[in-house]
Amino acid sequence: MQLLINIVVLASIYALIACGYVLIYRVSRVLNLAHGELMMFGAYLVLACSSLFAGHPVMALCAAVILSIVTGALVYIFLMRKMTGEMVLAAILTTVALGILVRGVVVLVWSSQQQYPAQALGISNPTFTLPGDGHISLWSLVLVLTNLAAYGALFGFLRFGRWGMRMRAAGQNPLLAAQRGINLHGVYALAWSLSTLTGALAGILMALDSGVTGSMPVIALKAFPAALVGGLDSLGGALIGALIVAGAEVLLIYYVDPLLSDVVPFLVLVAMLFVRPWGLFGTREELDRV
């Protein structure tokens, strides 16, 4: 039972991060390699907000979430906007540079020591006991639920929302989308905001559960295989991919060796690349573009 809970929690973490990769890739074919750093930035925003809104944990959390959406939009407007229409590789390298920059800023402002936003906010993290003698902490539970809500909302938005439709349209054929009056910059900025939002939610909830250090982006790096296993352009794929990667990781840690933890996602990825290089639910044609 505990094993199952661990898998679900880890899968939720990976899935919530992976959908950020998928969103940006789907609309603009850009791999956001700064996703982990932006996620960590979200977690540190909670720290900053907790001192700003001392004594109002809910307000501090809301402020952090809103700020992370703004961060995503700003990243697009000031950095990635200039890269639209350029080579995708150039855009990807820009995200690498952004990642290094954000990491530097975080260390500079908040130091690289482990910090606990939950303490700063003055909220506790009780553990619940589930039937079957499994334990889950409050914030892990919230993370699992947030993940489900995020995927539900994203699916609904992309399928039925007019702007979601436009995002899909822009991802398929940006030229035609522009000709149909769709403002590509608006769509891309929206994708970056949503992606940073989901990433920051993952970062914030993880930080509330177990604190935050400068090495948090490593988790996002491990979520990347989850997105790839599912197929980079498929949201549902990211969910399944996260489940597979998390399952493999937890089981191997339990039955083989805890030291394998950092390697497992990439082993799964390599195995996947042998069998189905375009991912479980990805489109085959995407391969030419990567």
């Binding site: 229409g85 007019r162 439709m165 436009r166 899909r168 349209a169 398929q172 054929n173 030229l175 035609l176 989308a177 522009a178 000709q179 149909r180 009056g181 769709i182 403002n183 590509l184």
Partner: protein, 270 residues
């Protein structure tokens, strides 16, 4: 006569700063008329159309001279979504629908500036009524449509932007003559009911001259001939080179000398 809806004045388009594709092109599309732009491959028809719709920047091309005026506003070298917002909407030659979106979604995605959300639905129904076939295929994915259906969907989704001027690149390309003829008649109905102007770029003069009120013939990046439908239909060169009819003198093939003469006789603009 009032100023035409679209006035293209002496434009020159240069690709990658060196290749001049279009030179001294002047054309006008009056309100509520169908104007055809004819010519063979590489004549510069599509380039002219892209210059009007703002698609040039992506191919590293610019309008270096002349002006494009639509409804009193200058359009040259503006971004495509802005031009679409002003009411100039293009149906491109290739990749004209979103392949992974259903027919209904293809119609829902376009932005219609200045239209309220509740006005969208009646407009959508209105457009389905021009293309009843699309209404049957609402839930079909765009990529699975046949060539004719795809062209219908492309026109329908362009109409969702509520254009004042519809630009159509190669309406009949890859379509059976029956299908193309059917589409052309629908276009006429659309023009009459919605009161929009249409600029039709075509290789097939037979199709275009069926409905166009006025037509221009392009060659080597210039306009060499223009006139209303009857004049062009009756024009000897158009009959010979674009309608594929034999020459008046007993239907014999023309000799090289005659073609040379044709080259001399055509009119150069600019």
């Amino acid at each position: 006569m009032s100023a035409p809806l679209l006035q293209v004045e002496q434009i020159e388009v240069v690709y990658k700063r060196v290749i001049t594709a279009v030179q001294g092109v002047t054309l006008a599309v009056p309100q509520g008329q169908i104007v055809a732009l004819l010519g063979t491959n590489g004549a510069g028809k599509s380039t002219t159309l892209r210059a009007i719709s703002g698609f040039l920047g992506l191919d590293d091309a610019v309008v270096t001279e002349g002006s494009i005026t639509f409804d009193g506003a200058a359009l040259q070298n503006r971004p495509p979504h802005e031009i679409a917002g002003r009411g100039v909407v293009l149906v491109p030659e290739r990749e004209k629908v979103f392949p992974n979106l259903t027919v209904a979604e293809n119609l829902a995605a376009p932005v219609a500036r200045g239209t309220k959300a509740r006005d969208r639905r009646p407009h959508e129904e209105h457009i389905y009524h021009f293309f009843p076939r699309l209404a049957e295929l609402r839930d079909r994915t765009g990529g699975l449509l046949s060539g004719g259906e795809r062209q219908m969907l492309a026109i329908a989704s362009a109409l969702m932007c509520r254009p004042k001027l519809l630009l159509i690149d190669e309406l009949s390309l890859g379509l059976a003559p029956v299908v193309a003829g059917d589409l052309v008649r629908r276009l006429c109905a659309i023009r009459d009911e919605l009161g929009i102007a249409i600029l039709l770029v075509e290789q097939s003069a037979a199709v275009a001259l069926e409905i166009a009120d006025y037509a221009y013939v392009m060659e080597n990046g210039r306009i060499v001939l223009d006139g209303d439908r009857e004049r062009l239909k009756g024009h000897k060169d158009v009959q010979e080179f674009y309608l594929g009819k034999g020459s008046a003198e007993g239907g014999a093939r023309r000799s090289y000398r005659d073609i040379k003469q044709y080259r001399r006789s055509r009119r150069w603009y600019g």
